[in-house]
Amino acid sequence: MPKLKSLEDLVRVREEAQHSLRTRTDTNTTITVGMGTCGIAAGARDTMRAILDELAVRGIEAHVTTVGCIGQCVKEPLVDIEQAGQPRITYANVKPDMVPGLIEQHLIKGQPVQEWVVGRLPAN
């Protein structure tokens, strides 16, 4: 079992993360993926995987979380992108092949992809 060795590894991960604390607060980004029955059936888990992979490839430090159904099942997979000081944007029907473009436009160029947007909440 890789367990013991890997658990010690986690301490190193933690230390590394604490070093990057400052960058994390500056680029405070959270991506939320709907993971109710409807989201799962629509492929939300693959969308989440595509997001994780794309963030790793681009070296973007963003938090990723999953949530239940919000009642817009036909628009699943739903993905929200929230950045400090920016409105929270909800994207609909996000398939894995849309993820690289979405991350490039929204997170790198700072321009939400209007045609995929279904919701917008003002920044707190």
Binding site: M1, R14, A17, T30, M35, M48, H63, V64
Partner: protein
């Protein structure tokens, strides 16, 4: 849903919705007995006795935003197609001691399958299922055990969190590590040839 791992994710999400502080997921593949068993237990608010008989009815749901609940009926259909069955118990069949105070009596969902049944769906990508669950915003503690014949992969998020000193699982460095850790553990129980009878009855400490 084309793989059992997606059903598992769905049942895990039910536990999150039920306000569980702690969840146990056990997957046992036993080739000698030709049986696959998947058990999800939580310590959430549970299911009232009068509703227990109708949870497998697709027109029963606790939600108020719509009138159908498909998670359990779909999982039941997947089990029955493959020579097995689905049982739902509330109170939960596990004593869930770790990870905070229970909210209620909890629920256990147990699905069995004939392992070699031609209509049994593949298990699928358990790494991504577990990761999706571990990244959930409410993030209950998870005790996980996957046994393939004599080989076991197990982890407990309370142990992981103890190493992380408050750093959330949704932190990029942490979820990348978790993803590799789980993929490695899952690969290992498949890689080992356990045809010998030296099965070690390893039991996760968080399973009591």
């Amino acid at each position: 849903m084309l793989e059992l791992a997606l059903h598992v994710l769905d049942i895990l999400q039910n536990a999150v919705e039920a306000g569980a502080a702690s969840v146990v997921l056990e997957i046992e593949e036993d080739r000698a007995a030709d049986r696959l068993r998947i058990v999800v237990s939580d310590n959430g608010r549970g299911i009232p006795p009068e509703a227990l008989n109708s949870v497998i009815n697709p027109f029963h749901t606790t939600r108020t935003s719509r009138h159908v609940g498909l998670g359990l009926p779909l999982f039941a259909a997947a089990a029955e197609r493959a020579g097995g069955r689905l049982a739902v118990y509330s109170p939960s069949r596990h004593l869930l001691g770790h990870g905070g105070q229970p909210l209620g009596p909890g629920t256990t969902v147990e699905a069995t399958f004939v392992l070699s049944h031609p209509d049994r769906q593949p298990l699928g990508d358990l790494t991504d299922t577990l990761l999706s669950f571990l990244l959930s915003a409410q993030s209950p503690e998870l005790c996980y055990m996957h046994r393939v014949d004599g080989e076991t992969f197990t982890f407990d998020t309370t142990e992981l969190r103890a190493q992380l000193d408050g750093l959330p699982l949704s932190h990029p460095l942490v979820y990348r590590w978790l993803s590799e850790f789980i993929a490695e553990g899952e690969a290992q129980i498949r890689a080992t040839d356990s045809s010998g009878a030296s099965a070690v009855q390893e039991r996760a400490e968080c399973l009591n």
